[in-house]
């Protein structure tokens, strides 16, 4: 047990050690200062030239959003087209069929919005062409979209009054060329040398040692898994995601993948500090996020290492903890660590099956997605946190009778309204979706019997988890859910769209509005935002808005299950 705990400690430590210089580097990249990969500038120039884009043209926040939404629409159409015709397109050695319209809709949206909810299984549901042109492609560009949106906010928070906030395409392309592409290249090669396949050949038929005939699924896995983690996408090449021994062959690859998915969200926080030259603010944000992360992590590791009481009752040796749905090469601790990093960060890849975790571990996983800002997804985690920050400044300002200000800009009714709308949208989508589905299910349990793999409280948790995962753009699931049906494909598809683009539009709009305002130098009357006291305030806002809104639903699912089991 000790070396399992040492293992997760080492993974977290390495993540921080690497994230700090990466944050510094990213700040230089997005400020346009001299940096390591400047030799790529000719490549970027030719990308812009070929696309007919002037990357020096400054945009207002509205123009940023129009550019972002337009190109996302183009990607959606491309993805729909390929997914619904993949059966008759090339690069399909396993002869997998085209997707049904509702499944193609769900899959295209899900990867477009960086969620990667998968209502299909990779081995039988996608051709290699779709894996590369739809899945891998969207994993790159959706992550870059999130980062670009966060950089617009960075730019807007500087101490000047302007509506010129840089160029969207410039931020977007640099996220790819200076970060995601080189990073993925490195990770993919490390994986390939550890046994992850990178081939266009189809399944290999072979006869096992004992004499059974099996076919082993292969594919261009390494290329996809790298950006799956680095871009906090999370959608697996294979059905079992990173639990699959070819997608994640050993403890080392597990550590590499786990670091890859946490590093950019953490580095973005540091980048904010370097970019604005407000390191204390970045430290406050990092502190709040880390406290939230550890509070969710600790009980999960504890309960998974303790094992399932129902199995303890059998009198067997459960020294290694709860092992249903887990892989022996990772063990209970690294699986628990992975599950929390993947739910606080909207990555959603899994190296063990969340459906089989202990009830309170399921609860912490869901809370990670319900708050959705403890590190959070590539770029968008910081945007969610920014909305909480605005609310905290406003409430704290009222409490002590000072004008609410953030970084020298007044927070007024308009910004506050947007922030509240964005943060309340999240519980609304989750709870309304869950309620509607539970209503449908209880109205006709026979017809919808295929939906739930488990009875009772746990079945309710499966529904709640699916909507939470969709609204958090996470993509992991309690995978026992029979979710490839029109109801699930369409309802979660709609939730995905709303919960991706509104939380990008809202914070970018707030930042844009703030950027235009006059800068008021900090004085004795200012409530400083970079102190531990204010950090406590932000945490309180997160707990009240995000966590407590979900308490009744959580009581019906994981909490009730916990007390029925222990």
């Amino acid at each position: 047990m000790i070396n399992e705990l040492l293992g997760i400690g080492a993974i977290y430590f390495l993540t921080l050690v690497l994230a700090l210089p990466l944050g510094h580097y990213l700040a230089r990249v997005f400020k346009g200062e001299k940096n390591l990969l400047d030799f790529l500038r000719p490549v970027e120039s030719s990308i812009f030239r070929l696309s007919g884009i002037d990357a020096r043209r400054e945009m207002s926040w509205q123009q940023h959003l129009v550019a972002l939404l337009t190109i996302n629409l183009v990607w959606f159409l491309l993805a729909m087209l390929v997914l619904s015709t993949q059966g008759s397109l090339p690069l399909n050695p396993d002869q997998n069929p085209s997707m049904s319209p509702d499944l193609a809709f769900n899959t295209a949206i899900s990867f477009l919005v960086n969620c990667n909810l998968q209502h299909y299984s990779g081995e039988s549901g996608l051709s290699y062409l779709s894996q590369i042109v739809v899945i891998t492609f969207l994993q790159f560009v959706s992550a870059a979209t999130g980062i670009a949106a966060a950089v617009v906010v960075f730019n807007a928070l500087q101490t000047r009054a302007t509506d010129k906030l840089g160029n969207f395409y410039n931020y977007f392309i640099k996220s790819l060329t200076r970060l995601l592409l080189p990073g993925s290249l490195l990770v993919a090669l490390l994986l390939a040398f550890n046994g992850t396949p990178m081939t266009l050949q189809g399944k290999q038929e072979l006869v096992t040692l004992q004499g059974d005939s099996v076919a082993v699924s292969r594919g261009p896995v390494a290329a996809m898994v790298a950006i799956k983690e680095l871009g906090t996408n999370g959608g697996g090449f294979y059905g079992a995601n990173s639990a699959h021994p070819l997608e994640n062959p050993n403890y080392l690859t597990n550590a590499i993948e786990n670091i890859a998915l946490v590093i950019i969200p953490v580095a973005m926080v540091f980048a904010l500090g370097f970019y604005l030259n407000r390191r204390k603010l970045a430290l406050m944000i990092f502190g709040v996020m880390t406290v939230g992360f550890v509070v969710l992590l600790a009980p999960t590791v504890y309960y998974e290492l303790q094992g399932n009481p129902a199995i303890s009752h059998l009198g067997v040796n459960q020294a290694l903890g709860a092992l249903e749905g887990k892989e022996m090469r990772f063990g209970a601790a690294a699986s628990a660590y992975w599950s929390i990093t993947n739910t606080v960060i909207s990555c959603g890849s899994v190296n063990s099956m969340h459906d089989s975790f202990m009830p309170l571990s399921g609860l912490t996983q869901m809370l990670g997605m319900m708050t959705n800002a403890f590190y959070g997804g590539c770029g968008v985690g910081l945007l969610n946190f920014f909305a909480y920050l605005i609310i905290a400044v406003f409430i704290a300002g009222l409490m002590v009778g000072r004008t609410p200000e953030l970084l020298g800009k007044k927070i007024e009714a308009r910004e506050m309204k947007i922030a509240i709308l964005v943060t309340l949208l999240h519980p609304l989508l989750i709870l309304a979706g869950t309620a509607l589905t539970a209503h449908l299910y209880t109205g006709n349990p026979q017809e919808y019997a295929g939906w739930l793999a488990n009875p009772g409280y746990h079945g309710f948790s499966e529904i709640l988890y699916e909507f939470t995962s969709s609204a958090a753009n996470n993509g992991s699931g309690f995978e026992g859910l029979g979710d490839n049906t029109p109801w699930w494909n369409i309802s979660t598809g709609v939730v995905l769209l709303l919960s991706r683009f509104l939380p990008i539009i809202g914070p970018v709009a707030i930042a844009g509005l703030l950027a235009r305002k006059k800068y008021v130098p900090e004085s004795a009357g200012t409530l400083p935002a970079d102190t531990a006291t204010f950090g406590v305030m932000v945490m309180a806002v997160i707990v009240i808005i995000a966590a407590l809104a979900f308490f009744p639903a959580l009581a019906l699912g994981p909490i009730a299950e916990h007390f029925s089991l222990y």
Partner: protein
């Protein structure tokens, strides 16, 4: 929107070339230097490929070490866990039945010696490993079926146990069984 539509199309085309052609091609080229040219490491026995190093297999005969229970029955054209919740009564009955079967097929073994992994399904359904305890509890049965000295089989298990500083210790079942066949 109109002024953004054409650049969006063109940029998408350019990025398709970068992300879907150049990027995978570079990795593919690099992977040619990896073991088995990036097609996954395979294991051969008597000059025949009997499986992948990393992909678990089903073993049912008493003379082989058995892998963990699998929700896909080790059909490696798919992969999935059981997704059974911890409080599911039907699931608890399944686990109890697995334990009873195991005890029946391994006479002399007590409940407390059976590690949980032998009665619970893995996440992928293709887990290639057991813990050292999961192998140790099968030594007596394998030795009896092969009419070997138990100490010799135990030594083979020890030889195939991979220790690591950070993760759990483990034994690759297929490699162990191949080594048994080669004794």
């Amino acid at each position: 929107m109109k002024q953004h539509l054409l650049p969006a199309f063109r940029l998408t085309l350019v990025l398709l070339v970068v992300c879907c052609l150049i990027y995978p091609a570079l990795i593919w080229a690099g992977a040619q230097l990896a073991p088995n040219s990036g097609q996954g490491e395979t294991i051969s026995h008597r000059s025949r490929v009997v499986g992948y190093d990393n992909v678990g297999q089903k073993f049912t005969r008493p003379e082989y070490f058995w892998s963990r229970p699998s929700a896909v029955d080790y059909n490696s054209a798919g992969s999935v866990g059981s997704n059974k919740g911890p409080s599911n009564h039907e699931y608890q009955a399944t686990v109890q039945a697995r334990l009873d079967t195991f005890l029946l097929q391994n006479p002399g073994v007590t409940k407390a010696q059976v590690p949980a992994e032998l009665i619970t399904a893995s996440g992928s359904g293709l887990d290639p490993h057991l813990s050292p305890a999961g192998a140790a509890v099968q030594v007596a049965r394998v030795a009896r079926a092969r009419q070997l000295d138990a100490a010799k089989v135990q030594a083979l298990v020890a030889q195939h146990t991979q220790h690591s500083l950070l993760g759990p210790d483990r034994v690759n079942v297929l490699r162990l069984n191949v080594a048994l066949d080669e004794l």
